[in-house]
């Protein structure tokens, strides 16, 4: 960073460099250092967090860890049940939330008349995105577990997480659909295509990379959620893998919470190991989202 950047350059060019200019320049350098320092707070915090987790947990990751159920003995405990549960929840949540969210986004961007009701739906979606996740858990408990009688099952959990990420996928999809140039729609309408034909054959293919990226990122949020699933009563001690929609289940974050809240150090270590597995899964999902975006943007360019 040169002195010129921090200012009073014009004055210096004239050969006048008073004590006041030097003070202003020093203040400029100090402010730059402050901003850089603040940026580094986040970066350093991330590095410390990752190092802390890796140092505690890396030694615990053995093949048996993936293939054992929870146990009172930390050395025998594993993550088989929560790992299966997480994949079940991930798949079901994707199946439920994707079609509804994309349908809503298509409606709002391509079909909705510009009236008060549309505006209410839109404002409502923005507000839903700011509702704390635990409130969705309360809703899931009252509606899915109790009212619909779905009990503390996989489907209750998947439905709860689906409505949690609904606004996220809708907003990402809307952005992707909005980015499709209007000229494409006009050309298709000009050839006599109906609204659905234009949407299905022109708009959706072009918006799909953006929609999928947003969906994967939203799903990775669902995979990391703990509180809503505790609310609907996902269990922490389960010695079986779920086989159907109505089975009880647990997921990685809940297992981590269970182990963290025990006082023994050994359980904290396997909690760290489970965190490493969870973070690796999230990293894979995020990498997939980025790859997808890059690949499609290259295809479109080429």
């Amino acid at each position: 960073m040169s002195g010129r950047e921090h200012g009073a350059a014009g004055v210096r060019a004239l050969g006048v460099d008073s004590a006041r200019d030097r003070r202003r320049r020093r203040a400029g350098v100090a402010f730059w250092a402050m901003c850089l320092g603040a940026t580094m707070v986040g970066v350093v915090a991330l590095l410390v967090l990752l190092t802390d987790v890796l140092m505690d947990g890396l030694g615990q990751i053995r093949p048996e860890f993936f293939n054992s159920y929870a146990s009172r003995f930390p050395e025998r405990a594993g993550i088989k049940a929560p790992l299966y549960g997480t994949f079940w929840i991930l798949g079901l949540t994707a199946l439920i939330s994707f079609p509804i969210s994309v349908g809503a986004a298509i409606y709002l961007e391509e079909y909705a008349p510009k009236n008060l009701f549309t505006r209410i739906i839109q404002v409502n979606i923005a507000n839903l995105a700011g509702v704390p996740s635990i409130v969705y858990g309360i809703l899931g408990l009252a509606v899915f577990v109790r009212w619909l009688g779905l009990e503390r099952s996989l489907i209750s959990g998947a439905l709860t997480l689906s409505i949690l990420i609904l606004p996220v996928i809708i907003m990402a999809s809307q952005e992707a659909i909005r980015a499709v140039p209007d000229s494409i729609r006009q050309a298709a309408y000009g050839l006599g295509a109906t609204r659905w034909q234009v949407t299905r054959h022109q708009v959706l293919p072009m918006a799909m990379p953006g929609i999928l990226t947003g969906t994967i990122l939203a799903l990775s949020r669902a995979v990391g959620e703990t509180a809503p699933l505790i609310m609907i009563g996902a269990l922490t001690f389960i010695a079986f893998t779920p086989e159907g929609l109505m089975d009880q289940f647990t997921v990685l974050p809940i297992q981590i919470y269970n182990w963290v809240s025990r006082p023994q150090d050994e359980f904290r270590q396997i909690a760290a190991a489970a965190i490493i597995v969870l973070l690796a899964l999230l990293l894979t999902m995020n990498a997939a989202a980025i790859l997808l975006r890059n690949r499609y943007s290259r295809m479109r360019a080429g």
């Binding site: 960073m1 320049r25 203040a27 400029g28 901003c35 209410i120 704390p132 409130v135 809703l139 234009v198």
Partner: protein
């Protein structure tokens, strides 16, 4: 959006095409209705949240007076001698929100200024995704970090720190919401037209002066909106505070003591075996309703700030 007349080109195609046209129209209408229903789901979710919370909260207030809920200073619904004062939980939530704001607001804003005013293309391209990772880490992981790293570190400095304490929770929640402040504030800063900066430079201002006296004031509505949104997220944060701050309804301003937030209380009740329909069960909804209204109010205020006080250039 382009408004399209249904089935345009077919008007002159004659009777042969008419049945095809009709089935096409029916299909188009059905698809439109289906898409509308999808959009309606989000509205139903809001209605569901409000109905569920209000219904059970009304049931709660038939047994507990609103006056007691708002003024009593003890919260002991699970004890034999029951008191239902939300103040200790509210104070716990606000203590964590305040503590995390002390970290995330200045750090987030300065980060935003660095990214928008100082960082060049490549530095920015690396720093932004790295900071986004902070927002993507599950909150239960932050809880682990608070309990196993932040609290031991705090105890080295302040030996009286309790194992569960508000300070460690505040620190990790503060870290967690840095990206919220940084990215929304950066958007606001970058939206300030270059001509304003150039005008100030032309008058001989330094970069510090341009940033703090021209760019930040011009982006103030966006920055304040990001602050409010971040605090609202801190109030709604659940797992990190449940793990690190304790489960002890405690009307205190001392961050080194164990407390309980509204969110942590809701979790602690649902972990236990609380039978449906009891007063203990209904407290979940009363506390949840309070939490929902508080965060909703803050989100709405943040949107109003953004829209009403937006500085228009052009």
């Amino acid at each position: 959006m382009v408004s399209a007349p249904e089935a345009t080109g077919n008007q002159l195609a004659g009777p042969l095409a008419s049945s095809r046209r009709r089935s096409r129209r029916i299909r188009e209408g059905a698809i439109g209705t289906l898409l509308f229903l999808c959009a309606l789901v989000s509205t139903l979710v809001t209605v569901g949240i409000v109905v569920v919370l209000v219904k059970e909260t009304v049931g709660f207030f038939q047994e507990v007076s609103i006056a007691e809920f708002l003024t009593e200073t003890r919260w002991t619904p699970l004890f034999s001698e029951k008191h239902f004062g939300i103040l200790p939980l509210m104070a716990g939530s606000l203590l964590v929100a305040l503590g995390s704001a002390l970290i995330s607001l200045p750090v987030g804003l300065l980060t935003a200024i660095y990214l928008s005013e100082y960082a060049r293309g490549r530095t920015r391209a690396i720093l932004k995704p790295v900071l986004e990772i902070l927002a993507g880490i599950p909150t239960v992981v932050y809880g682990y970090f608070a309990l196993t790293f932040v609290t031991p570190a705090l105890r080295l400095v302040f030996p009286t720190t309790e194992i569960y304490n508000a300070a460690a929770a505040s620190i990790v929640v503060g870290i967690m919401i840095i990206p919220t402040v940084a990215s929304l504030s950066e958007d606001a800063l970058r939206a300030v037209p270059l001509s304003l900066r150039q005008g100030a430079y032309g008058l001989g201002a330094t970069k510090l002066e341009v940033s703090t006296r021209v760019v930040v004031p011009a982006a103030l509505s966006g920055i304040i909106a990001s602050f409010i949104l971040a605090i609202s997220r801190a109030i709604g944060e659940t797992m990190a505070v449940t793990i690190a701050a304790g489960n002890m309804p405690n009307l205190t301003a001392n961050p080194l003591e164990a407390i309980q937030t509204m969110t942590a209380y809701i979790v602690s009740v649902s972990l236990g075996d609380t039978p449906f329909g009891t007063i203990e069960y209904k407290t979940i909804f009363a506390v949840g309703f309070t939490l929902f209204m508080l965060t909703l109010a803050m989100n709405v205020v943040s949107q109003v700030v953004l829209e009403r006080f937006r500085e228009q250039y052009e």
